[in-house]
């Protein structure tokens, strides 16, 4: 008899609990809204390569300078960034925290310009 009751009670309790909480509880971990990406810009022969990037907030960009001449990566945006002097072999990174078009250049060599679009 008790075994029969158990066989009935357990599913009954489960049904009541399910009814109270409105269905089977969702215990899965949701993935982030987008996969964070990492980009590299090479400063080679007095040019940024690539000179145009389109990224998302949260993505990161790393500038690497293999040129003999020191360069900077300096944005014109008020909330942008300035890498400071990057000597040969050094690098600087930035994590996108603002949206929009961000122009940047090398402070030492004014003809070196590039742009990052952050969505």
């Amino acid at each position: 008899m008790s075994r029969t009751i158990d066989a009935l009670v357990v599913p009954l309790i489960a049904a009541i609990v399910t009814a109270i909480i409105g269905g089977r509880p969702d215990l899965t971990v949701r993935p982030p809204s987008h996969e964070v990406r990492h980009y590299t810009v090479t400063i080679r022969d007095f040019a940024f390569d690539p000179d145009t990037l389109r990224i998302a907030v949260g993505d990161s960009v790393t500038w690497i300078n293999p040129d003999v001449a020191p360069h900077t990566v300096t944005s014109s945006h008020e909330k942008g960034w300035d890498s400071g002097p990057l000597v040969e072999g050094s690098a600087s990174s930035w994590v996108a925290s603002i949206r929009g078009r961000i122009d940047y250049a090398c402070r030492f060599h004014p003809a070196m310009t590039a742009v990052v679009y952050v969505d």
């Binding site: 022969d45 007095f46 040129d67 003999v68 001449a69 020191p70 002097p85 000597v87 040969e88 030492f108 060599h109 004014p110 003809a111």
Partner: protein, 141 residues
């Protein structure tokens, strides 16, 4: 080394000029030529070689001494324009010499690669000097 001559011109500009664009140009010359010279000297040490003067470098050094005297006699806009004009002429001469005389004559591959890399830097300087000279002339009009 041609870079040493330009570094001395740049120090003169920093001592005399009050123009922001001229001073920034001069600082870039010091920064870039120092980097190229350091790399060249390191390579020469690796190769066990010693830089020696030739007819071209002797002429450059003699001319540079005269030009420094002329520059030191100037001030203000006159200095700025003369400095920019000299930088343009100097880089054109050096670039032509490096590209058409030094690089073809060099036997060592590593040194030739360094000269090719340095030439890219000097050509950027030439364009920068050209824009600087044009801007200084335009502000006079």
């Amino acid at each position: 080394m041609p870079g040493l001559i330009d570094i001395r011109y740049a120090h003169l500009a920093l001592a005399i000029s009050e123009d922001a664009a001229v001073r920034e140009f001069a600082e870039t010359m010091i920064r870039d030529h120092s980097a190229v010279n350091d790399k060249a000297m390191t390579l020469l040490q690796d190769l066990g070689a010693t830089p020696t003067d030739n007819a071209t470098s002797k002429k450059l050094n003699n001319d540079a001494a005269d030009i420094r005297k002329q520059l030191m006699a100037l001030e203000g806009r006159a200095f700025d324009k003369r400095y920019a004009a000299n930088e343009l002429a100097y880089h054109r001469f050096v670039n032509n010499t490096v590209e058409n005389q030094f690089i073809p004559d060099v036997q060592n591959d590593r040194f030739r690669d360094l000269l090719r890399s340095a030439l890219k830097t000097f050509k950027v300087h030439e364009k920068h000097a050209e824009r600087l000279a044009e801007d200084l002339e335009a502000h006079e009009m």
